[in-house]
Amino acid sequence: MRQEPVADEHWVDPAPFDPEEREGPLTAEQMRFSTASQWQLVWWRFRRHRLAMASLWFLALLYASTLVTEFLAPYGPHTRHAQFINAPPQRLQLFHEGRFVGPFVYGYGFRLDRATLRREYAPDPAKIQPLRFFCRGEPYRLLGLVPGDLHLVCPAERGTLFLLGTDRLGRDVLSRILYGARVSLTVGLVGIAVSFVLGIVLGGISGYYGGWTDNVVQRSIEVIRSFPTIPLWLSLSAAMPVTWDPLWVYFGITIILGLIDWTGLARAVRSKILSLREEEFAQAARLMGARPARIIGRHLVPSFTSHLIASATLSIPGMILGETALSFLGLGVRAPMVSWGVLLNEAQNVNVVALYPWLLFPVVPVVLVVLAFNFLGDGLRDAADPYAGR
């Protein structure tokens, strides 16, 4: 027990102060934690969320795969096999009649059904077609630039390899799904970039200035939100001229997706800024003569960037689904380009779905990617505020 301070208010113990005296020295672990930057804390917290980590890896792998699609896909996206139209998937086998042969598929045997005039395929056990790995196959240009013909896996010489079947033009569904990932996965990213910029700028202005500016922005957000999204997307993409190049259409679609999505983000930004602009650090910046753009961009926005990233992650799946929906209806990405929605467009008809159910396979990556983004976003949201709770 120390001696009570006497009358003087500013009594200070003359003995040197050692913070470690009572609590003992900080452990290395505590030290690391207390000196970590905010982003490190976010990362540590995020890492504990296993599902989110798994999703992150999954998505990272998928995005990386879009860089080398040509290498991964056994066929090109437009290669037609006139002999194998609407062929069912070939099962990957390892054993032939109890004997191990390594990975192979049975070739197709087919006959014409006289009644329905349809070709019926069945695996032909006589045709064993072992797969080849790291093989020379169909030539391609990697990302449209680097020529090459090396593939991860190829069909046997004169054999076929349609692990997910073929469509009505005899194109390999698996290869097309791999190529479709390029458009489907990037649509969300470009769209979110558009919506991010619009959301931060408009939400920031509206929250910072308040008054009639705020009113105008808020009312326009309300108006935009009263349109049901898909009809609005439909109308806007119908407005794109038919003469446009598919690449332009693709950018048009992403911009449309972003143009409608920013409202949610703008609202989030606005409410954050409303509460932050009265904080001391914002006031200090203002008193020191910083201009609004600097205060918003340098002081206010960085303090909730992690939240923004989390909510952006959560709105990417909506965009991916949006693109899929538009292309499914034939108003989205156009034919020479391949996206998951374009592939599903083939499966619009019930009869097609009943006869050739493998055309529905592109649903699987759509659902997986959307799920992964949702889990990732959830994890990010939980980790976004590392100083809260514990």
Binding site: S226, I230, L234, A354
Partner: protein, 332 residues
């Protein structure tokens, strides 16, 4: 309360005006108009064009006049219940739309009800049994419902209906009732078919609703007053229902505003797949053929439905929660 209602109604007017302007701009965006496309098509087929009729229509709808006059004429017509002329169907838009808007409304409304019925018990259960296996399972199911695009679910259901029962589940009514006037039997038949699109469209919204209700209720359940109530020996059921549940109910009402646009847009796609007689398929077709007044009316009416939905939810909230009624309070 009356003041609040009047105020809300007054605010609606500029919103609707802005919506009408945006709608008009959107339907004007595609280059050319339906008539020029139509004429080109007819000429390509080597058919004669009814010049007088085209001219008549051009003048009737002022297609040769500047944009803003066209807009004013369209708006004036809207206010008088004249939705314009569908070039594609060669009939007034209101005739083409007729039942479809009504059916869209029925489907959307039924979906909202369905969502509530499903989300409420599940949400309460997962909040009170947090981290139990049922909570995890239901949460995962919810995520799955969120991730599966509705129209794909519709396709898959069509597929299984075809495989298992050998029937098509499309449409909203049995084929033999199609041209009959509304009767009790037809109504029952509609009910029989209604649940399929309702379930399909409802899945995505239900998931979100469950998660929101769960989060809200969890927040509420940790508050000191609940702890006090339980510490004093209040039975758990009563400690849940008396106040926390009431507080957690607000998002249910507030969500009508955001669920309606979601369901209407969800139904647009699902109804294309299931070929329902709602607005979706006609809208898509109208957009493809540049049948501008038809497309515009759909957009306008759907946005109108949403605005009405938001109004209803705001009024309900105000009725439920005096903090909002007396101003100052935030609805959401």
């Amino acid at each position: 309360m009356l003041r609040y209602v009047v105020h809300r109604l007054f605010v609606m007017v500029p919103t609707l005006l802005a919506i009408s302007i945006i709608t008009f701009v959107i339907i004007q965006l595609p280059p050319g108009d339906f008539l020029s496309a139509h004429i080109a098509e007819l000429q390509a087929q080597g058919e004669g064009v009814q010049q007088e009729k085209i001219e008549h229509l051009r003048q009737l709808y002022g297609l040769d006049q500047p944009m803003w006059i066209q807009y004013l004429r369209w708006l004036w017509g809207l206010l008088h219940g004249d939705l314009g002329w569908s070039f594609e169907y060669d009939r007034p838009v209101s005739e083409v739309i007729g039942d479809r808007v009504f059916l869209t409304f029925i489907v959307s409304f039924a979906t909202v009800l369905f969502t509530w019925l499903i989300a409420f018990p599940i949400g309460v259960y997962s909040a009170t049994h947090q981290y139990s296996w049922a909570d995890h399972g239901l949460t995962f199911l919810g995520f799955l419902g969120l991730a599966t695009p509705n129209f794909l679910l519709a396709l898959v259901m069509l597929y299984f209906a075809n495989v298992w029962f050998g029937t098509s589940i499309g449409g909203l009514v049995d084929p033999h009732y199609l041209d009959q006037p509304l009767s009790w039997a037809k109504f029952l038949s509609v009910l029989e078919h209604l649940w399929i699109p309702v379930v399909i469209i409802g899945t995505s919204g239900t998931a979100g609703m469950i998660r929101r209700l769960r989060a809200n209720l969890l927040d509420e359940l940790q508050k000191p007053y609940v702890v006090t109530a339980r510490a004093k020996g209040c039975p758990p059921g009563r400690a849940l229902v008396k106040y926390p549940l009431r507080m957690a109910l607000n998002p249910f009402i507030a969500d009508i505003g955001s669920l309606l646009p979601e369901f209407i847009s969800g139904s647009a796609l699902v109804s294309v797949v299931l070929s329902l007689p709602t607005t979706g398929p006609v809208l898509v077709r109208a957009l493809q053929t540049q049948d501008m007044y038809l497309a515009g009316s759909f957009l306008m009416l759907e946005a109108f439905l949403v605005v009405i939905g938001v109004l209803v939810s705001d009024l309900l909230l105000a009725w439920l929660d005096p903090r909002i009624r007396f101003g100052g309070g935030q609805a959401r």
